[in-house]
Symmetry: C2
Subunit: 471 residues, 2 copies
């Protein structure tokens, strides 16, 4: 494709994208497709003849786009917000258009240095002190694995450089809670810790926050039994109910054993840009690592997860490779982000943050987040006043956890009722909500925070929910 062919096709695509975003509300939130529908709509064999870009755009419009769940839709209240602010989409275009290669400082100095600058801007905007050093990862899952590996090597004095984990005399233990994101368990297993040594620490029955005294006791018991407390993953805003583990107390407990503390603030980290919400993260300065995803509530298009570290030199020692073909042919010391994570080749992700922060400005982002906090509180108030509805967890930020319990319903019958009304809403395409399990029973999360969601959308949602439970 020549630059002129690209120019013409890209202009058409830009118009399609702008039109589509402007009309997002006219489409169903969840597409009416079943597994296999889109596979069936596409040829099973590869194309043999080239087609024009206009034909591909037509297929994008008619086959592909109708098959996505519209997470930019104002009636999307599922999972966590996955905002793709158009300013960040523009920055992503710039990254694609530059076509640069991030495998070393030399392969794209600007890719490295804009990232250094922008992650430091975000550090300042989130009120973290200047002892934190950041890097962009794809997701918080990967960031958590990176933290696990760093902790493992710190606890074993870099045993990967000799015998690895085999034959370890003292099993390594991981501490988190049952509320932690599924990626915490996954990373612990992938890092080789073993499920037998993952400790799920008790939580407060209402807030679901980790009990620091229970953590301290579990760590002491492991130590006394000859095991090695290695890492605590604190959830700052859990996926289910936005629980906030008490970071300061966790750090104090971990310090006794020299254990690593990783703060998983994937969703809630966005709230760090609001000074009034920082108390939820009190003690974070004592942690070893912290990750949060601008690609969620904050609005930077996926994928963009920030990982901050107190001691990046340690991580570099764990991750570093220095093959001859990657050594610079110029002089000077430069940051090599390949040694701060798993992949060698990296995209120019910093541009989407750079675009968003400069074009939207931090104050407009802050206002939007505050709007969502108000909306979530308002929504919870409405349900507290409605018969048979119960707000079953504190509303720490923008997620409201609800259950509709008509009199007489409990146990599996209540689960059937919950899943039935939420399925009815989701399959209708009018709104989308995530069911989730709390205390072994299904409940429904209303995750407020899509960029386009305003108060009247919540009013509409309440009506939909009231109709669904009555059906």
């Amino acid at each position: 494709m020549t630059p002129e062919e690209f120019r013409a096709a890209a202009h058409e695509l830009v118009d399609w994208i702008a039109d589509r975003r402007a009309a997002v509300e006219s489409r169903p939130v969840r597409p009416a497709v079943e597994p296999g529908d889109i596979v069936a709509a596409l040829p099973a064999e590869p194309p043999t003849e080239p087609v024009g870009a206009r034909q591909v755009l037509r297929d994008l419009d008619q086959i592909v786009a109708p098959g996505i769940t519209e997470v930019q839709h104002p009636m999307h209240f599922g999972w966590f917000p996955s905002n793709a602010s158009l300013s960040s989409v523009l920055g992503d275009f710039a990254s694609s258009g530059l076509g640069s290669l991030g495998i070393s400082w030399e392969s794209s100095p600007a890719l490295t240095e804009v990232e250094e600058v922008v992650v430091d801007w975000l550090r300042q905007l989130t009120g973290l002190d200047d002892g934190w050093h950041g890097v962009i990862q794809d997701t918080a899952s990967t960031a958590c694995l990176v933290a696990m590996l760093a902790a493992r090597e710190r606890a074993t004095d870099h045993r990967q450089t000799t015998t690895g984990l085999g034959g370890l005399e003292h099993p390594l233990c991981v501490y988190t809670t049952a509320e932690a994101h599924s990626s915490v368990r996954k990373s612990a297993l992938l890092a080789g810790f073993g499920a037998d040594f993952i400790r799920l620490i008790d939580v407060d029955p209402w807030t679901r926050d980790m009990k620091a005294d229970a953590l301290a006791a579990a760590m002491a018991a492991d130590r006394d039994a000859g095991r090695r407390p290695t890492i605590v993953v604190a959830s700052a805003g859990s996926t289910g109910t936005t629980a906030f583990d008490p970071i300061g107390e966790i750090v104090a407990a971990a310090d006794v054993h020299g254990a690593w503390v990783h703060v998983d603030a994937a969703m809630a980290g966005s709230a760090l840009v609001l000074p009034e919400k920082r108390e939820l993260f009190a003690g974070v300065e004592g942690a070893d690592s912290l990750s949060w995803n601008p690609h969620k509530w904050f609005g930077t298009i996926l994928d963009c997860s920030l990982l901050y570290l107190r001691d990046p030199d340690h991580l570099i020692r764990v991750m570093s490779t220095n093959p001859s073909y990657l050594r610079s042919t110029a002089g000077g010391e430069a940051t090599q982000y390949r040694d701060w994570g798993i992949p060698l080749g990296r995209r120019f992700r910093a541009l989407k943050l750079w675009y968003q922060l400069r074009i939207d400005g931090i104050e407009s982002i802050r206002s939007r987040l505050r709007r969502d906090l108000d909306n979530a509180q308002w929504l919870a108030e409405q349900f507290r006043d409605l018969p048979d509805w119960e707000v079953i967890a504190p509303v720490r930020l923008q997620t409201v956890c609800l259950r509709h319990t008509p009199s007489g319903l409990s146990g599996e019958a209540l689960d059937d009722h919950t899943l039935s009304w939420v399925r009815a809403i989701n399959t209708s395409g009018s709104a989308f909500l995530s069911p989730s399990v709390l205390d072994d029973r299904w409940m429904v999360r209303v995750s407020v925070g899509v960029e386009s969601t305003e108060r009247h959308h919540l009013e509409q949602l309440i009506e939909l929910m009231q109709s669904a439970v009555a059906a």
Copy 2:
């Protein structure tokens, strides 16, 4: 940013990108920047007031873009080709513009199903049988780590679900060669194998291909000593000299021990679309996993690495999580690609392959690859005829390894000479080459294969090199 503001700014950006690609040859390949230059050109503190998109584009043009190494430049012969065909850039735009979220089939059915279709198209185009099942990873480094983890769990009967690696009676061994990519060692260490159990098998002194009999002997020795041969990583096109380990013989040796065979074809996998080059991969059908990067020679913009597996169910068992908030509210069985790799959230990467294959067509990609193969052979012929130049490795595909050895020069003096002339070329901005170490001495790799590189660019390169060594 509103859709209308986005529309206007994106049109300007598209023109800038098209103009820039059309004029790539007018710019230096490597920017004349030193570490810290770009940091210094940007504000240390975050912006407080928003600016218009035009201002950001101006800064992109004047500060950021001049700070990238132009890997799309026809005189770029460094590392490996990192082509970003404009058809794939367009597909990347479409992905950004859709703003969809890949955390489950339900979060974006089209993201999952277009990926299933397109990776199967690539399977067919590369001549792999239908027992292979593919998934897109970010890079071959990550794909290699995923293979290591899968192999580790197969060898230990899913020990991550119990005690993990600690206390293993039989150390797990990894086999590769010194020619393997740095990510092989890195993944082995991260997966917990331990450097003591990474075996670098002897290679043929000229081709640098692994000696299968040496592999068989090393595996037997480990087994006899109570260790467990777990995985062999075969390089199909090594980074230094494009060595091809004999996959068929490796599979036979590994089968004796039930060891996993992972084929790392990061660069050279592109050649699988050429039937006449498939003999280099003979025996690949017996391997357990294979990865290659369309984001290199093939031309799909970074990041896009294909990982094919014989037994994806095994990998899913290693990687799977099934938290309540990700369970579908609709019926049906669907592919959940989150269980095929490390990150939960995934971009819609399949679109860039879909766009490229449909717009460019496979035959034009094949022609381009064949042009590059011819060009590399031609270049090697020229240097074989020039005094004091030596082609020091077989030209298997598109990389030519050279050393200029004026009479009397050897040892460190020769290294100084090599690094001196290659630095002179690279810092001039006229062309870019990667120095690399072979047999403990520096040499220079000329990696042919940028989309815009034609024969006359190679003629120009020869002149530049002749001048540089004479300076």
